[in-house]
Symmetry: C2
Amino acid sequence: MRLIRSISVMNAYRLALLREGVRIGLVPTMGALHQGHRTLIRTARLACDAVVVSVFVNPTQFGPHEDFSRYPRQLKQDTAMCRDEGVDVVFVPSQEAMYPSSFQTGVTAQAVSQRWEGAHRPTHFGGVATVVTKLLNIVRPHIAFFGQKDYQQVVVVRRLVADLNVGTLIVSCPTVRDPDGLAMSSRNVYLTAAQRRAAPILYRALRAGETAILKGSRDAARVRHTVLMKLADEPLVQIDYVSVCDPDSLEPLTRIIGKVVLLGAIRLGPVRLIDNLLVKAKIKGRRAKSR
Amino acid sequence: MRLIRSISVMNAYRLALLREGVRIGLVPTMGALHQGHRTLIRTARLACDAVVVSVFVNPTQFGPHEDFSRYPRQLKQDTAMCRDEGVDVVFVPSQEAMYPSSFQTGVTAQAVSQRWEGAHRPTHFGGVATVVTKLLNIVRPHIAFFGQKDYQQVVVVRRLVADLNVGTLIVSCPTVRDPDGLAMSSRNVYLTAAQRRAAPILYRALRAGETAILKGSRDAARVRHTVLMKLADEPLVQIDYVSVCDPDSLEPLTRIIGKVVLLGAIRLGPVRLIDNLLVKAKIKGRRAKSR
């Protein structure tokens, strides 16, 4: 396994791989790798000949009062996991190389960045779209792998890749969860013991919404209400949003038809948690119950 | 020569070329090709193995009251010139393929887009940056060739290519002029006979500024005044701006040190003309005069 810190070395390495006809997979991360990342890496290894894991805590996707400075950094453990998983390259560019003082270009996917996380973190998706564009241009992977946990991020990335003709396939991998249902996240380390005990309520509440849909509910407001009621069971929770949306446009729905995504974001003290479930409503007369 | 209209065919063709180790040059144009484009194509042929000329009148770089609908379109003549010049591919994507209804992503180079043309055409460089990013991603050229006439455009493109790690070399080719000095432009056809006679004043005025610098003037305000005075000779001219700038940041200068760019934009009736000169101020004691 190679640890590459220089953008131009990464570029040269990528060119050499492409000349040999090697199929490159990229797993872009901010480090602090957990089992969710491990699944992304394993999926990449199955689909590609060479796997590049980028580790870059991207400052531009953090808001001014967010956790950029205390975001967990543990390159040693991260490279150990990557070596373990047969990763070919760990790419760790410096902040100075990614954002020299002359840097001034931004990429924005407009509509899909506005709602939900975008409303709560107004500069977040601009930062994500820009850094992902940069990483895709540097590594030029055939496929890039993202976790479904950050659902809106995947939608933004798919959008910019299509709109800017980037030519990378974006694969979203299912969310990996702790046994009690909490979606894995590098930020879960911020939770106190009490908050950690309360945290799985988000998944349980989304599952309640899913169950309502699978049982035949087609009224988005009622499904949303089901999720909100479940969240209300947990006194530590403050709700940022719960929504039932179109899975591509992320526009909120009134009627549930076909595939929808349930999005939820809560706060437990200062810690924000997000999660989501993709649900396919069966056509009427073929409800889950009746099968 | 191949005429390619489909983005995916262009993509496949590019991939095949790259696999063979062919060095691709791209000349992005809006068509209505003139001698300036011919020079870009010839430069590309000298530097690259395969030359792609894109012809796309990009709607997003026109302002709402600009000349998008009447911009000259003459694909037959354009392809004839390209065949003549040994171009390998003329790439003519449709508006629908470039901007499907779901399209929503924008690329912006902030600071260098604000002044001069950006101030007069607020959405222009966003449109340019986005379409150039798309074309560079579709064709993935080793080198892309732009005319120096659109100086600020070249600065914006260089900026986004560096900032987004696009990995294409941007080459700016000297402005090609009519014998009387008027910079060639597809929009020159809009000029009436009287306007056409007045048009070379822009080049002559910039040359007067250049002469002042080469003779030792280091006061940007005085050089600018020289250009403005010259322009005032021509009663048909309305001045949009004249500036003496840093050639990379496009910030206006007070003192002239080293390389500077003189930018000018005028209107002759409804027709806007822009032009520029790059000037290298000799170090003191080695003035042009004394050589």
